[in-house]
């Protein structure tokens, strides 16, 4: 990436008009809504947004109201990246033919974990392979929330959802979270990063970096959902912090495949004693409550084990001890 790093102050951000407006119907404590507000603070000029079906689409576009102060398109659940392809192709050729102004227009595709890890993955992979110039923003609330908390490929091991309930025989979701950002890096993308809304400056900076890439960029943002996680709505941002502090959701970026921890996670690599146990993050979330029962002790240990293992793997990728 050659572009100079964008510098901004809190005041700049506060003064910048919102493109994702208030008045939407998101629940109290909805981190995805906070994420979108922050993401749209990072735009650098005219921007078209296309969004997959899911909570954020539904809460922001109930006709005849809209929360979008920028052109916005929704078509279906699995189509965010395909839409972005079409929008980008149209802008390119219409500019070339002189039908619209030559001014650059950024394209952001937004989808939840369902619209990204699962049903939208093919379209995403195809659009990235074709090299369209767009930023794909995944807000990851770790389940299909819009339809009532069903498991997705992004739901973590052990979590109870309505299609992976914690029952007497099966203690929540048995499968592990798909390492999606790594899959995107395997597409040879110029810019892939993860972010968490607690570290909002880091998040905004990464959005801007993604937009500056001439080609596809991918940003995976952690986004707690108090309804789906059965957690206190006042604590969504706190969980965004804890997920990073426990290394459940490390924040990093990979420029041309070179992994680099971002400061909040980098600190933990330098001072491992500050890394918190996963239980600090899991406790208080209803979706993990069953894991604290004595009979599920192994499950809790397994979550710690897989978290440590993935963290070690990440450190290696970052050339850190």
């Amino acid at each position: 990436m050659t572009a100079k790093e964008w510098k901004f102050t809190s005041k700049d951000i506060a003064n910048k008009p919102d493109l994702f407006l208030s008045g939407h119907r998101a629940c109290a404590g909805c981190a995805p809504a906070t994420v979108l507000k922050l993401v749209m603070k990072a735009t650098r000029g005219p921007t078209i947004v296309t969004e997959a079906t899911g909570c954020m689409e539904v809460v922001s576009s109930i006709y005849p109201y809209t929360s979008w102060a920028t052109p916005w398109l929704h078509t279906a659940f699995e189509t965010a990246a395909a839409n972005a392809s079409g929008i980008e192709a149209a802008l390119k050729i219409m500019k070339k033919k002189g039908r619209i102004s030559k001014e650059h227009v950024d394209v952001i595709a937004i989808a939840g974990d369902g619209g990204t890890f699962d049903i939208g993955l093919q379209a995403l992979s195809g659009a990235v392979e074709r090299g369209h110039d767009f930023l794909f923003l995944l807000y990851d609330n770790e389940a299909y929330m819009n339809t009532g908390i069903q498991r997705s490929g992004g739901t973590p091991h052990g979590a109870a959802t309505t299609t992976s309930p914690a029952g007497r025989a099966v203690p929540g979701k048995l499968e592990y979270k798909k390492p999606l950002a790594d899959i995107m890096i395997a597409h040879d993308m110029e810019y892939v990063a993860t972010a968490s809304p607690y570290y909002w400056r880091d998040l905004i900076t990464k959005v801007r970096k993604g937009l500056e890439v001439e080609g596809p960029a991918f940003l995976h943002v952690f986004a707690p959902c108090p309804r789906g996680w059965r957690s206190n709505p006042a604590k969504s941002i706190e969980y965004s912090k804890l997920a990073v502090e426990t290394c459940v959701f490390p924040v990093w970026e990979a420029v041309n495949g070179e992994y680099k921890l971002s400061i909040p996670s980098k600190v933990l690599s330098l001072a491992p004693q500050r890394k918190k146990p996963v239980s600090d993050y899991l406790k208080g979330q209803g979706r993990f409550r069953h894991m604290f029962k004595p009979e599920n002790k192994a499950l809790l240990e397994e979550v710690q084990r897989i978290t440590d293992k993935r963290w070690q793997k990440l450190l290696k990728k970052c050339n850190l001890p």
Binding site: P46, T47, I48, T50, E57, V58, S61, I62, Y63, P64, T66, W68, A69, T70, P71, W72, L73, H74, T75, A76, E78, T79, A81, A82, N83, A84, S85, G86, I87, A89, A90, L91, K92, I93, M94, K96, K97, R99, I100, E103, V105, Q122, A123, S125, G126, A127, E129, R130
Partner: protein, 410 residues
């Protein structure tokens, strides 16, 4: 007819004719995915792109689902979008067809009509597009490659009409037309572009009572493809029906204007009647079958039999009035369907024709022939039996078998 424009004869298979028409229509974005028997269209268009013969963004998607999504997105961004598919590809697009018409995106799509699996079959019938007849798309079926060429050009003009704003699919029979070389009269690029013009984006009224272009425009932010619930959804759908009604007019106008320019008119644009005026028995069909049927009608006429043919060129919107009027004197009618509606008592064209004629004063006999599924060849001899049957019905004044399968082992 004096002012017919000079044209150039080219030897083109149906698919090539379609690709050539799309090329001449100054399409901005083509997002497509290959499938037999449509593949030649995508290939041919890729060639145009590779040789710099078109100013088009070609998006070679990873599926038809994405091809339709990208076409739709390009269209609502303001581009003229074209795509093509068939069979399984059209079935995979199913979800997005409704979204495209619902978003009022005038995408044009060629369908090289082909059977649906299972069993797998790559040959021609109308199962694929008939299964999409309620998807909100205008549907036209070409009789030959010439008409496929002409219809693609017309489709942009029809779909982009501000009173219509609907996507249009143009069917051409798989292999029979898609892969068969024909002499096709072609217009010059300039004439085609003059006829269609650059895509005009209509203005719509915003919530602030401002006029705003109906597209994704950063200067006039618009929310497209919103969620509309019990209180608004219904009105959106009703407007689509109104647009379909308007399309009946637009198709006729475009057919007329195009005819004045080129000397080629396809009936009134909706239906094409052949020897129907005094006909007592008539068959009704779609697509390439009409060519063979016309030669049979000619033969019968020579034998003194008052036979006629009605070809439905536009299946959606269904031209009820035109059909009723064309058939008002016919006493026995055979509707030919190249697709099935399992358990539905006959094929889709039969259903619609019977529906249209239910309250007709002439109360004709109406029977259904299902034929040609999976590309099954139907010989002129077999086709002639349709008229023989109709005469028998007239003679006996009764229908023995309302639904028959032509050329089938039973």
């Amino acid at each position: 007819m004096a002012n017919i424009i000079k044209q150039k004869m080219m030897a083109l298979a149906g698919d090539q004719a379609v690709a050539y028409a799309a090329k001449q229509s100054d399409v901005d974005v083509v997002a497509a995915y290959p499938i037999t028997p449509q593949t030649i269209i995508v290939e041919k268009f890729s060639e145009y792109v590779a040789n710099g013969e078109v100013e088009t963004e070609f998006v070679c998607t990873e599926s038809e689902h994405s091809a339709m999504s990208a076409s739709l997105a390009a269209s609502v961004t303001g581009a003229r979008a074209f795509t093509a598919t068939a069979s399984a590809g059209l079935a995979l697009m199913h979800e997005m067809l409704f979204v495209t018409s619902g978003c009022r995106a005038p995408v044009v799509m060629a369908i090289a009509n082909r059977a649906l699996s299972a069993p797998l079959n790559i040959h021609g019938d109308h199962s694929d597009s008939m299964a999409q007849r309620d998807s909100g798309w205008i549907q036209m079926y070409a009789e030959n490659s010439q008409e496929a060429y002409d219809s693609i050009i017309q489709a942009f003009k029809i779909g982009e009409d501000s009173n219509v704003l609907l996507p249009v699919m143009v069917g051409l029979d798989g292999f029979t037309l898609s892969h068969t070389l024909e002499n096709v009269e072609t217009l010059s690029d300039e004439v085609v572009q003059q006829f269609i013009g650059i895509r005009k984006i209509p203005n719509v009224l915003t919530h602030e009572d401002k006029q705003s272009p109906f597209r994704l425009d950063p200067k006039n932010p618009m929310t497209m493809g919103p969620i509309a619930l019990q209180n608004y959804y219904f009105e959106f759908k009703r407007q689509q029906e109104e647009a379909m009604k308007n399309a009946l007019e637009a198709i006729q106008d475009v057919n007329k204007n195009y005819g004045d320019l080129t000397g080629r008119k396809y009936g009134n644009g909706l239906v094409d009647a052949y020897n129907l005026k005094d006909a007592e028995v008539a068959a009704i069909c779609l697509g390439s079958t009409a060519g063979t049927m016309k030669t049979i009608v000619d033969k019968l006429r020579k034998e003194g039999i008052k036979a006629g043919l009605l070809r439905i060129r536009t299946f959606r919107p269904f031209p009820s009035k035109a059909i009723k009027s064309a058939l008002r004197n016919v006493k026995a009618i055979a509707v030919m369907d190249k697709s099935m509606s399992f358990g539905g008592n006959g094929g889709p064209a039969y259903h619609e024709i019977r529906h249209v004629l239910y309250d007709s004063e002439s109360k004709p006999f109406i029977v259904n022939y299902i034929y040609g599924l999976g590309g099954r060849d139907t010989s002129p001899t077999q086709l002639r039996t349709i008229y023989d049957d109709l005469q028998q019905i007239l003679k006996n004044q009764t229908i023995e078998e309302p639904i028959k399968y032509l050329g089938l082992r039973e």
